[in-house]
Each structure stands twice: as structure tokens, then as C-alpha cells.
Amino acid sequence: MTSATTPLPRPAAIAGRRRRPAPGRVLAWAYLVVVLAVTVFPFYWILRTALSNNLQLPSSPSSLLPVDFTWGAFERALGLASRAQAQAQGGSGASLDTPLYLRNSIIYATVQTVLVVSCSAAAAYAFARLRWRGRDAVFNVLLSALMVPTILTLLPNFVFIRDVHQLNGFTGLILPGAFFSAFNVFFLRQFMLGLSRETEEAAIMDGAGRLRIFFRITLPMSAAPIATLSLLTFINTWNEYFWPLLVSNNDHARPLTLALGVFKQSSPQAAPDWAGLMAATLIAALPMLALFMAFGRRIVDSIGFTGIK
């Protein structure tokens, strides 16, 4: 970091308040620190509450440290505590079969992501690298999907899935989003349009067919945006709420996010098991946080990228 008095202009600091650096910069830093604190604090508060004894929480609600430290809330949230144990710590006795929901979420998000990204990549290739009559018209029709609010299609889709008896299972959960995503097609097409033609032409000279070029050249060259897209799709699917709420009325395929909402509703209104709820919340958020640890930079860059492109 350059010190505030350095006269050398950093490219980053364009339009910086270089003439009167001190007060503005201090204010700006203060603002940023406050924003970061407000952003991060709730995550700490989840952890602090999750490690507290629910019955003791009211005694010191503003203590920054866990109140009467215990792993009990996690045991309740993971369904490891007996009913008596749970109630002794202020649990509601409601249980959350976290391993099952976790499995459901993993299946739902993984299968959905793999399917929709593959289908989108194939379509994007056809729209970006192949020449055929009606290409632009078809593309624009598909893009119209970006405009329609999900609620308009959700109700009829629900009726359809019910009519084909696929409620409460993975098929009904995954199918509607498995083949087509306007955003994904658009995003990948945009990238593939920018690929150079030389490699492709060389491959054609060598007698490679279009399909071979797709698998051997275009796909590998698009590895980075495909990874990005998979990440974003996975996160979105993991956090999906409305559609699972409609189609999953029992535990069989109910994802974690949804189960969390149900768990909350089974908690008594008067004295909710906040410690247990926060433990469950943390468990639900943990995979996303882990993903973030692993791919933080990529996620950050990809969001910038989606905006600029």
C-alpha cells in the first residue's frame, strides 16, 4: 500500500483526493471499515449464538462472547441430541435431519449445475461458432426468458409437475431448470464469440469435424468461464427457495435451505430456540462459505466480468 503522502500516482487511485489527502481518506477508510463490520458482524453473531446455551441467552443478550459455551445447539441441529437433552438447553424438541437435507442439497445443486451448464455450453457453441439459418431469431426468442418473472411460469410448472406425478422427488425438483438458462447461454455465447478462429481453422484443415472442434478446442478454451458459471449456478441453486417450497412437501428431496425455514416454523413463537436455529443456519451457510474460501477470487472476478461483458 502506498502511503498517503506519496506523490507518485497509483493507477488505482485515479481521481483520488490527492490534493488534500488526509481528511477525505480517513473518512473513506472509516466508511469502508463500517461497511465491512456491518457485513461481517452477522456472521460472527450466528457463530456466537450457535455456541450459546439457549436458556442462558436472555440473561446476557448483548454479550459478545457465547453465553454459557456449549456445543449443544450444533448437536440439536444435527439431530444428535436426545429430546430430553435438547429441551434441557432450551431446544424445542423439533429436529432437523441435517445429514439428509445436506445430501438433498448436494444432489439438487450438483445435478442441476452439471446438466444446465452442459446444455448451455452446447447451445452457446451453436449460437456463437456455427452458421445456420434462423440462428439469431432463435437466440432472441430464448433470450426473452430473461424478462419474465419466475412466478408466471412457476404456477403452471407446478401444475405440470403435479400432473406427471413428480412432486416430492428430485425429478420434479431438478427438471424445470435442468436444460435451459437464458443467462447461462447468453454468458457463454458472449465468451465464445470472442474466441479466435485460427485454431479452429487449423483443426478444419486437419480434417476435424465441428463436433470434434467443440469438444477438443472450444470447450477447453472456455474452461474458465464454464467454471465461473458452474460456481454461480451452484450457489444460486443451493440458495433456491421458491421452487423447492412448492414441490417438496416432505423430507425425501427437501433441500437444506427449505428445511431451515420449516425448522424455524416448528420452533415456538414465544421462545424460539435461537441457538439451535443459528447452529442450523451456520450449517446451511457453511458449504457456501467453504466454496468462497476455495474460489473467492474467481467468484469476485466473475461478478465483475458478468457486469462488464
Partner: protein
Amino acid sequence: MAQIVNDRQAGPGGAAPGRRRGRSAPPAVHHRGDARLAWLLITPAVAGFLVFFAYPAARGVYYSFTSFHILVPARWVGLANWDELLHDGVFWHSLGVTVYFVALSVVFGVLLSLLTAVVMHRLTRSTVVRGLILLPFLISGVVTALVWQWMLDPQLGIVSQVIEKVTGLHPLFFGDGAWAVPSLAAVSVWKSLGYNAVLIFAGLGTIPPTVYEAGRLDGASEMQMFRRLTVPLLRPILVMVVVLTVVGSFQVFDIVQVTTQGGPANASLVLQMYIYRKGFGELDFGYASTMSLALFVLLVAVTYAQMRLARAGESDLS
């Protein structure tokens, strides 16, 4: 966004936002099997589009003209639902609630993300800072809603505790009719701030420093440069952020469903919540579809207006 539509066929009424200006696909080397292979490759996407998007969308339009309770087949009733909609006080109330929520989310969300992006851009390139600020975007609306409901709990919530100690007031947040929507909007802003800030931050990176150097030579002040250079040059990305926030906020559901469920006394009954209540609470799919369609029409109109307004005097880097 500016390049969503890339060709002539989009026409003036093209459904997608964005403008024609884009490049078209490089003139690929002609190959005989191209068309057949192309159709093969797009078959899954087109099938998904037709079965789970176009058909249900058409179906939704049809339902909006029917009396349809899920167990009985739909019966055509013409404009009855629309007539009901016009006279449904709750619908208009929920529309008002939604617009209020959207306005709060957009104004505070966009201003704060713009400010945050500009501050970040001046102070630090750190991916860690951008990453931290992005954390709320990664977690689900349910998780967000739960933690904020806990922090805003009138009895034990840390925010309530602090406010009470500092000011002596005792706000009820989600439990107070006057505060329910602002609380929801605050939570929604908290969740989306980082995402929007990172988008705008990326936009700032595309503005060449020479623009500011020229401004400085002309003796422009910081505020002048921000208003006359930064904001106009960011216009495309700001428009996109505003459109995304508007479209997203109009469809807010999970935060509401987990925290207030539309209460107290319908004070936070956003449109999507009302549609859900009609459709899945009362199984009145016909009327729920009518409202969904109304929401769609509204969104198209709002988006179109925004794109039009944004294009007036568009100044882009070129």
C-alpha cells in the same frame, strides 16, 4: 448488458433489454453439417425453453382467464379475474407495499453500493475486501432472513439491545407495521450491497485514468468530476444495477416468507407473497396467475421505461 441483443432482427420492440450495437458472430468457415449439428446442440436448451418456459408462460396467461382451483379443471371465465383484480383492495395495497419496498431498496441499495464501490476503488484493490463484502450474496435469503430476525428480535436481538442502550427507544422492527417494510428493505440492501458494489467496482476499472487527468487539468473539483465524469461514464452499469435491483425487489419473497409472512396486518404483504397466499394458501390458481401476469406486465413496462430514460443522452466510452 449493452450487448444482449446483437443483431438486426431484434427490431424496435425486441423483448430483450440492451441495444443493437453489438458485434455479430465471426463469419465462421462454412461447413455443410453446421445447421444439423447446431440444431442437435441446441435441442436440450430449446426443449427446456419450450416445455418449462414458453408453454408454462402461455399456460399462465390462459389460467389468468379461468377459474382454476387445482383439484378441478380450469374453467374459462373471461375477464372475471381481471375485474376482481381491479376491485381487490388487498392487491392494490400489496402493490403499494411492493413499490415502497422497491423504492427503498433501489435508492439506498444503489447509492450505498455506488459509494462503497467508489471508496473501494480509491482505497484498495484487495480481493479480500471485495470478497468479504460479497459474503451476504453467497448465502441464501432464508439464512439472511433468519440471522436478521434474530438480530432484530425486539427482546433479545443485539440491534434492539444496542439501540435501547443508546437511545432508550424500543423498536419492534418486523413486528411494527410502520417499520416492517423498511426493515425488510434494510435486510435486502445488506444482502445485495456487495454484489452491486463489485459490479460497479468493475465498471470503475474500465474508465481510463486519462479522463480524470483531463478533468483535473480543466480545474474540476472532486465532486464535479464525480458528477460529470464518473456517473455518466458508469451509466450503462448503473442502469444495469438499477434494473436488476428493481426486477429483483419486485419479486422479493424468501426474506418476507421467513420473517413477517406479510404481517403484521398485511403491512409487509408484498405482491409475490400475496400471489403465493392466493395460489397455495387458497388454491386459487386462476387469480394467482392473473396477478403474476399483472406483475409481468408491470415489470416489462418499468424495465422498458428505465431503458428508455437511460438511453436519453447516453454517453458511453468509445
